[in-house]
């Protein structure tokens, strides 16, 4: 492929170029993959949080506490915004409080509010729900986790921004390194370029020869980088296993994600080729 009658089989420094491209492409792809996974998981969190509210029925509701809880549940389950409502079991309360109170504590003796987990329907709003509950059951509170949700969203946005910044920087570094290595390799062929110019080679011919040569190196590097990436993804998925911890997502990609991951590969080959083309053309233009 792309055999040139004019260029050396091994240009100075060109042997390293595919490796340099592979490593940089690999890092860039990895950064993008990580970014996509992070964005996907934070998106999922904030969606889930958006739809969860907690209703508190205070202990002061008196002896008929259980009855109040029942009527509150009834109101909740009828309400059009509510998908599900479920009172927390005593054992769940215990689990929630154990970090503060320790195990085997006399939770039953404590005047704890009864908590009800409420899952809203898609697009369900809670203002009318809140009004109704507060009117009918004084002391009942409805917590939409606004503060916590705000923090989670801020965290998600910060990590997206961070991920975007890191990915951009890795891409920038990759581009610089590839451009630099390509130019360094071209520099060793200055005599050849000058001679070709003097014996009447057209600029597009000279540029074309170098372009083909460096496209080949770029593609070699890109394929190598892709193989490294594929290996890493397979390894990560195996390590995470079939039942990942909730905070570890299995990386499952759609076509768009694959396209985004492939972007550094194609770009690297293209950047290598275009760098060669424009460096040669600029060198030649300076000779006339």
């Amino acid at each position: 492929m792309f055999h040139s009658k004019i260029l050396p089989r091994q240009m100075m420094g060109a042997r390293l170029l595919p490796l340099i491209i592979a490593v940089n492409v690999y890092l860039a792809s990895l950064a993008i993959t990580g970014g996509l996974a992070l964005i996907a998981s934070t998106g999922q969190w904030s969606n889930e949080i958006e739809q969860l509210v907690t209703v508190q029925v205070p202990p002061e509701a008196g002896v008929s506490g259980d009855a109040v809880v029942k009527s509150v549940l009834g109101v909740l389950r009828e309400h059009p915004s509510v998908a599900k409502a479920r009172p927390l079991e005593l054992s769940e309360m215990e689990a929630l409080l154990s970090p503060w109170l320790g195990r085997n504590s006399a939770i039953k003796e404590l005047p704890l509010p009864q908590l009800i987990d409420v899952e809203l329907r898609q697009g369900g709003e809670i203002d009318s729900l809140r009004k109704r509950l507060e009117a009918e059951f004084p002391g009942v509170e409805i917590d939409d986790h606004r503060q916590w949700r705000g923090q989670m969203l801020a965290l998600a946005n910060t990590s997206r921004l961070l991920c975007f910044t890191i990915t951009s920087m890795i891409l920038l570094a990759a581009v610089s390194v590839i451009v630099f290595a390509t130019r360094a390799s071209l520099e060793s062929q200055g005599d050849l370029v000058a001679l070709l110019h003097m014996i009447g080679a057209h600029n597009r011919f000279v540029a074309g020869e170098f372009q083909k040569y460096f496209l080949r190196l770029g593609l070699m590097g890109a394929v190598l980088g892709l193989m490294l990436l594929a290996l890493s993804l397979v390894a990560i998925n195996i390590l995470i296993g079939d039942n990942p911890a909730p905070w570890l997502m299995r990386i499952s990609f759609g076509p768009v994600d694959y396209a985004l991951t492939a972007l550094p590969l194609l770009s690297a080959a293209l950047i290598t080729m275009l760098t060669a083309r424009f460096t040669v053309l600029r060198t030649l233009a300076a000779m006339d």
Partner: protein, 229 residues
Amino acid sequence: MIRVKNVGLQYADGPEILTDLSFTLPDGSFHFLTGRSGAGKSTLLRMLYLGQRPSRGQMEMFGKDIGQLEPYELPELRRKIGVVFQNFRLISHLSVFENVALPLAIEGRNEEDYARNVVELLDWVGLGDKMDQFPALLSGGEQQQVAIARAVVASPQLLLADEPTGSVDAEMGERLLGLLIELNRQGATLVIATHDTGVLASHRHHAGELHLDEGGRLRQFPPVRAKAG
């Protein structure tokens, strides 16, 4: 026909190396270009192979006013010019055959179409058995032969040689000169820069002389017909 009129040439904003040059080289003519070292011989040749444009004045080659040409028009003209560079300028990663074939390869032609011509030419200059060698393994004289073969392979109308006998003994020098003169007999306009007085003495009877003096000015002399002998 090459016409040079009132040409001056300077590098960047240095002094004028060539000053008020005016001369004419008829088609098929043969001139030596002489002058002391540093007089500007290589510079004048560079101007003639379109590697350096004059800073002022007019130069006409192959019926074209060089000053009026766009850069993209220059390659076609350069292909009509063969150059034997002073330091050969052979490409080290190409074999003797590939070096010589370079002017044909840049035209985008297929190797099968020109391979026979190149082989014949290499036989003619005496390098038939060194075709697959690389330049670094050749003697100075052999490298000069490769440079000459490359200069003439595309049948140039103008042949320029910068001190082609500078690095070889007198016998080899004569042999190399003979190759260039043969091309001139076949119709190429020939200019050879030299400070080799022996070469001048034995060839001035059929070659004119362009002499660059100290001030970068040029005087042109016809062949010395009345050679004793």
